[in-house]
């Protein structure tokens, strides 16, 4: 989690890092751990292929794994992971680090790719430019939700979950299973599945609240 704390300036304005780099060569010489958010920023603003390759190196094998857990064969998953990263490249200019962590944004692209290819359906979703969309009523509340900071806290907090809770989250997010599916598969009563997941989420949120207070 080093990368979250070093170079925090970068995620506000990735370009600023470049300017600093030129003015203070010692920074560029240091082994920089650049955040995924910053890398996406370079891809978006400068079509930076090196930045993209670094994102690929981290995310593609994980997307492949995610797709296989969701039912894809190894070959299929490899191909779909490549397509997902191509979509990341393609849509990078729509990415806004103030609105979402890189992993959040990339997850949604991978998820939609999985639904499209494995469930053979187009996911009905809200569209930001829809004239019928009811606009956000609490713009300040949105600022922290789903951003890099929250993602970082969650990554750490997930490690502290009891195995029986973590397992259920993995089945929900990775194995394409509803709570009912999970109950049927594990023979755990549906009520227990729901309450364990609820406990897991509360625990994760609790960590959020503690960190927020500490700030």
């Amino acid at each position: 989690m080093k990368q979250q704390f070093l170079y925090e300036n970068m995620l506000v304005n990735p370009l600023r890092f470049r300017v600093n780099e030129m003015m203070e060569p010692s920074i560029s010489q240091a082994s920089a751990e650049i955040t995924h958010e910053a890398l996406l920023g370079y891809v978006a603003k400068e079509q930076d292929k090196d930045a993209f390759a670094r994102l690929f190196t981290h995310f593609a094998p994980r997307i492949k794994s995610y797709l296989m857990k969701g039912g894809a064969s190894q070959d299929q998953a490899d191909e779909l992971a490549q397509e997902t990263m191509l979509a990341v490249w393609d849509k990078a200019d729509k990415y806004n680090p103030d609105k979402a962590a890189a992993s959040t944004w990339i997850f949604t692209i991978a998820r939609n790719k999985r639904i499209d290819a494995l469930r053979r359906m187009k996911r009905p979703d809200y569209e930001p430019e829809d004239p019928a969309l009811v606009a956000d009523d609490m713009p300040h509340a949105d600022e922290r939700i789903g951003t890099e900071q929250e993602a970082g806290i969650l990554e750490t907090a997930l490690e502290t979950l009891p195995k029986e809770q973590a397992e259920l989250l993995y089945k929900s997010f990775f194995e394409d299973k509803t709570h009912s599916d999970i109950a049927a598969e594990t023979k755990i009563p549906l009520g227990t599945v729901k309450s364990r997941i609820r406990l897991a989420l509360e625990r994760l949120r609790g960590q959020n609240a503690v960190k927020a207070l500490g700030k």
């Binding site: 190196t57 962590a101 996911r123 569209e127 930001p128 939700i145 969650l154 993995y170 299973k177």
Partner: protein
């Protein structure tokens, strides 16, 4: 059965059901009909969008830090790098913006646009009409439901889950008043008889996962079964 639970317990149950389905929608595990309701609901509810964002953030955290990587094929990166320039060139002109969806004078969430053509209401009960919505689902059924002002839904219960998204007007039942954007999710424990607003009536999007059955003497007449 609904009398076994107090009002408070009922609301709590509905809230849990609601949060469960938000999470399932964020995880991408709902079927097409249920996803349609959630997507339309999210268009009308900033709260739902915030919740979805939280769940997607969780999904991203799991993907990035808790999903053991499986090596890509040796030439995968090269293969993708080779396509980057072409990709940019291809999609430069593909700027599509959301198409507004108008139906019967009501502005609807754009995700419904592909599912609704011309109005073609079928009367199923005095003061109530439905318009079927085609999806690829085998277990879930989606329909628009239009209820005339002041009309009370016949007493009915349902196996499985019933999702009702208010699109226009309002209705009220024992648990409160609901209007545009509100999503009510009930399961088989809940017997309800919503009454459409006396002035405006209502239009809603309803998805059920099992045939609704009527309770009480109106059981002989079961218009929801199709």
């Amino acid at each position: 059965m609904s009398t076994d639970l107090t009002q408070h317990e009922m609301k709590d149950k509905m809230q849990t059901q609601y949060e469960t389905m938000l999470m399932e929608y964020a995880a991408g595990v709902l079927d097409e009909a249920q996803s349609l309701v959630m997507g339309a609901h999210a268009s009308l509810s900033p709260y739902a969008r915030r919740m979805l964002k939280k769940y997607e953030c969780l999904g991203g955290a799991m993907l990035s830090a808790h999903c053991e990587p499986i090596s890509m094929k040796k030439d995968a990166l090269d293969c993708v790098m080779a396509q980057l320039d072409q990709k940019r060139a291809e999609t430069k002109d593909e700027q599509t913006s959301a198409q507004p969806c108008h139906f019967e004078g009501v502005s609807l969430p754009s995700c419904l646009k592909d599912y609704l053509d011309q109005p073609s209401w079928q009367n199923i009960y005095p003061g109530m009409a439905i318009q079927n919505i085609e999806t690829s689902c085998l277990k879930s059924k989606a329909r628009l439901l239009k209820v005339d002002p002041g009309v009370k839904t016949p007493e009915h219960s349902h196996r499985g889950v019933e999702m009702t998204l208010m699109l226009d007007g309002a209705f009220h039942d024992e648990s409160g008043t609901y209007s545009r954007g509100d999503l009510i999710i009930v399961d088989e424990d809940y017997t309800h008889q919503p009454i459409a607003d006396e002035r405006t009536g209502c239009i809603c999007l309803v998805v059920t996962t099992a045939p609704i059955k009527l309770t009480g003497w109106k059981r002989l007449f079961n218009p929801f079964l199709k």
